[in-house]
Symmetry: C2
Subunit: 650 residues, 2 copies
């Protein structure tokens, strides 16, 4: 084993923020086409270079006239003006309005020479030249266009928008730092600007380390311990969300030369290099050495949970050193450190303000105690209490599980000196993404395929398959909106039953039941390998009961029987997992559902039926998400038809 | 003039929403690479296809052992296990752990055959084989690796993460409708998924009409009445923000055949076609005819201000008809109708929820009365009152000005039956973009280049150059945070003075002053053409005073003098505008500043100095933006050096 580098002198979180702030994350100016400028931030003040409109324009449909010609005119005594032509929007006037004449004009058209006002069409009457007039050659100043009677008196400038009246050349129009939304794009369009100087996006290189990582989409050799790389895409997406440009580099193994080559290449091409820690200690040590030898390590380890393995430094590469931050390896921890330390620095370099939705205020749903004396970035989930408050509960206490990625909505920063957060205490949650929303429903409990189908019809529910026992425990704590219980558990939690269904359970065996398994007794008496479910599962409780019944029958002990069943303690996570082990030839029988056996083309030995019940938190029955769940459960028969062994509740 | 089509039967706003909802806006499913899936919405439920991890893995650095070999071991009486090799993360174990042996193992590595638990390295001691042992050939089961003393007793499964313990194959992981943020991208990465089925973006074609429009960046012929096209880019950006894909089509003139060709081409290629109304009535009529003849007009005109000219229909084009909505021509009106009617439909088709920041709650800053009996979408600006409330004030009462694009933050929907909104009344504001923010400072008043420079150092201020008089009027109403006054106006508003400076004003004349203008008397007495500023301007007030003084001197009336000055009533908008007219040869003298004359290389006839004072709303002096303004004004000398004719206030 490589010597592990221990971080004895942990930096304070403030020192870590300062160290990152001291780095140069790029963020210069670039010019982008206006059409692609949405969401970018102006790097320079924009003053108008031209007048808008660029000419005196009619602001009504009507007639361009000389105001003096209408002095004294009214309904009873209109002024008669001879028509000399028409001016359309978008064309140069080819008429001049002399004394006693008018030109028809459209809104937006250029005022013809001589005219200083527009009379709206509604205040006029058109007079065709009569045939008599034409025959007699009357109306000397007239033309074949006829004439118009103006029934109102106008002042110069009436219904005319002067050049520059909207925006005048030389005016300050948008300031540095303005975020470009559709309306600013509109103003810049009006100025004829088609390229804008904006803050450049900092380029952020992402290097993930570990011989075992495979990029999503690649082939995985599980026997060789390979896993898919979670942090590269997660971090790249988070970088983009913060306003940076993400550049992914190939995986580096734990080899010094390869790591050095990759990190210096990334440093040469990027403003900031992020590595996400390998779970392997040796890889961390290699990175540490590269930074020390090819750059400068500003700090290693931060006195914040989970920031202990965080590195901050500079890396030589191109003309100027690149900034470097090493993130932890666990996905939630990596995202936590990114959110707390790196995202603000990227936004700052990109000139972008923190999104208004980046933080939400909530109340602790449960009390939480701390003993470590270290600042903690506590991953939390959110649940709407139905009366306008957002409740906050801790998740993923360092498990490193990938699934907690979608349970954790953000982080609460708990100061080192805080020993206790009371239930109901106000906390501020930094969301993992400004797009994260409080789920419409937060439910927990048994993993069940009918439930899964019901959830499909709800809008953004959060359901955690933690099993019946754990689900009921959480419901008792009052945090979730609902719990789903299978079997006949003791229910200590206050609840309102929303309904349920019945499912057939038993042993999933290979197709055709080649070992001729008939029931629990066979498992105990014969050389058969079982795959079981964990003790939180309602299926497991049913099997435990069946074993207990057999023990009674045999006047034996339950323990004696379970010891005799090979694999009774071999538990797997989800309702399909035992059946999949059977399908893979890894076991002779798996605890499961008739539906799963049929779905996977396996045999099934029925051991009974059990109820699945949906129990609402009585405090939340009016909440919209719970009402939707109630409606979905009431309509459960619509999905039971496609599920073998399922039936409506009695 | 073309016959104008009048819309007598206006549809209700509800009918307009229904008509748009009845259209098919596309929004199917497409597959995108995971790396580009940020912000997209899952079109299908994603169940796990594999176990995560895919193998039983060590969750600690230490030694893989058989738990039974450690039973009873403790600090005092360790179990000695012979080392048989090492298992690294990312490689297949090449050792088997037999009874009495152990294999060194790294976190994340595959459990070697035979082992069922991991002892963490901290609970062990390494024992090298002594040279004596090696010489004697002792320790039959050992190898050259040496041995390890295990100082604790372990149970099977300790520090082992079983295959599927994180995510089990077959589990429901993400539901339909889930918006993909970094954490979801992380979970999908863990499942090895590199392509995801997401809701397709509706394709939205944008056709803008009007012979007079020129796309930004193009050459503008102002003499021919051309203007830059504002609505195309604005609408395209707003479409993208709502989750659609915008396709811009070339401008259509008012010609029926061309319009028909463009609209049917857009209909063939897009799910929705938007046209933004020309200011020209004839173009609207042409579109109307195309929709009637090549599709179906569902409604024309909506009983909402400014929705009167709105059209909704279908357009034949490709295999299935495309949806069509015609927007008004004024930019703020177009954005208003888009925000209220079109954006929700695009989001619905794209499967995206309304952003949480799309709406803000505020209070009316002033009272507002209505007399029309028609629902109104009132464009409003927002100002933070410094105590946590957002004040809402109406802007752009139908002026059609481009500049109101950046004054209006959103719209308030006022029901037809509402005749009166009281100051302080709670209103809900639909923002024009979820990225629109309440400005940090809202100030109004005189247009001044020193002020403009001070504003550059503030964070997102809003400054409206409405002139001194209008600025003071607004300050008296209590809406803005501050007003900037030039000259010596009567100040009726309560205020706290933040400071100011002095500027030299006079007549800007051509370079070298070829007409030898010496002052106001020359303007009245000689054949000189002036360009003036509007009566809200503090510069204009100073000129008015100079004229009045001359009138006194001559025992004449002010009116007599101003009538004698050619162009006294020819007013332009911004402080540089008169000077620019002089530079363009359009006038002999322009009211302006010495700074402007020097900047534009023109001559200058000084008429005096005037104070520019920054006056804060006394209710807002504690507001951060006002404090920043105060600090900037206190530091004004830093910008005065670059401004000719400027000096610190006495």
């Amino acid at each position: 084993m490589t010597d592990r580098r221990e971080f004895h002198d942990l930096a304070s979180p403030e020192a870590a923020h300062e160290a990152i702030a001291s780095l140069d994350l790029g963020g210069g100016t670039e010019t982008v086409p206006l059409r692609e400028a949405r969401g970018r931030v102006l790097a320079e003040r924009i003053d108008a270079e031209l007048d808008v409109p660029g000419f005196d324009r009619a602001s009504m449909d009507g007639y361009a006239i000389r105001a003096r010609d209408t002095f004294g005119a009214d309904e009873a005594d209109p002024a008669r003006l001879e028509l000399v032509g028409t001016v359309h929007a978008g064309s140069e006037p080819d008429v001049t309005v002399e004394e006693g004449t008018a030109a028809e004009i459209s809104t937006g058209a250029v005022m013809p020479p001589g005219a200083d006002a527009v009379v709206m069409v509604e205040r006029t009457d058109r007079v065709e030249r009569s045939s008599t007039e034409r025959a007699n050659g009357e109306a000397v100043s007239g033309t074949d266009e006829g004439a118009v009677l103006v029934r109102t008196s106008l002042a110069p400038g009436d219904h005319v928008m002067l050049a520059g009246a909207d925006v005048a050349a030389g005016e300050r129009t948008l300031g540095t730092g303005t975020e470009l939304t559709p309306r600013e794009i509109g103003l810049l369009s009006a100025l004829g600007i088609d390229e804008v100087p904006v803050r450049a996006k900092p380029r952020v290189g992402i290097v993930s380390t570990g011989d075992e990582l495979v990029r999503p989409g690649g082939d995985l050799d599980s026997a060789a311990g390979q896993i898919y790389d979670v942090n590269s895409y997660t971090t790249a997406t988070a970088v983009e969300e913060a306003g940076g440009e993400a550049v992914l580099y190939p995986h580096a193994g734990d080899d010094y030369d390869e790591m050095e080559r990759l990190l210096t290449e990334a440093a040469a091409e990027c403003d900031l290099v992020l590595s996400s820690g390998s779970t392997s200690a040796s890889a961390v040590d290699v990175i540490y050495r590269v930074i020390e030898e090819r750059g400068e390590l500003l700090l290693h380890g931060v006195a914040v949970k989970p920031g202990k393995p965080m590195l901050v430094g500079r890396l030589d590469g191109g003309d100027s050193p690149s900034a470097y931050v090493g993130l932890p390896g666990y996905p939630v921890s990596a995202l936590t450190i990114f959110r707390a330390f790196v995202a603000p620095a990227i936004r700052e370099a990109a000139g972008r303000p923190e999104p208004r939705t980046a933080t939400v205020e909530g109340k602790m749903a449960v009390e939480e105690r701390y003993s470590e004396g270290r600042r903690r970035l506590m991953p939390v989930g959110l649940v709407d209490d139905g009366t306008g408050d957002t409740l906050v509960y801790p998740v993923d206490k360092g498990s490193g599980a990938t699934t907690s990625l979608v349970e954790a909505d953000g982080i609460v920063e708990v100061p080192a000196e805080t020993e206790y957060l009371a239930a109901g205490e106000a906390v501020s949650v930094q969301l993992f993404s400004p797009d994260v929303r409080v789920p419409s429903l937060y439910a927990v409990g048994e993993d069940d395929p009918a439930l899964s189908r019901l959830l499909d019809d709800l809008d953004r529910p959060r359901y955690l398959s933690v099993g019946t026992r754990e689900g009921l425990r959480r419901l008792r704590n009052g945090v979730p909106d609902a719990a789903v219980a299978a079997g006949d558990p003791e229910i200590a939690a206050d609840h309102e039953e929303l309904g349920g269904w019945t499912r057939e359970w038993g042993l999933v065996v290979p197709d055709g039941n080649p070992a001729d398994v008939t029931g629990v007794a066979d498992l105990a008496d014969r050389d058969l390998r079982l795959v079981n479910r964990g003790s939180n599962s309602g299926l497991r409780a049913a099997l435990d009961d069946a074993v207990a019944a057999l023990a009674d029958e045999r006047e034996s002990s339950r323990r004696e029987l379970t010891d005799a069943i090979d694999g009774y303690e071999l538990t797997v996570k989800a309702h399909e997992s035992p059946a999949r082990k059977v399908a893979a030839g890894d076991a002779d029988a798996g605890l499961g559902l008739r539906h799963t056996a049929e779905k996977l083309g396996l045999g099934f030995v029925s051991l009974g039926e059990q109820d699945v019940r949906v129990l609402a938190n009585p405090e939340r029955t009016e909440k919209a998400g719970v009402q939707d769940l109630r409606a979905a459960v009431a309509n459960v028969e619509s999905v039971l038809g496609e599920l073998a062994g399922y039936s409506p509740q009695d």
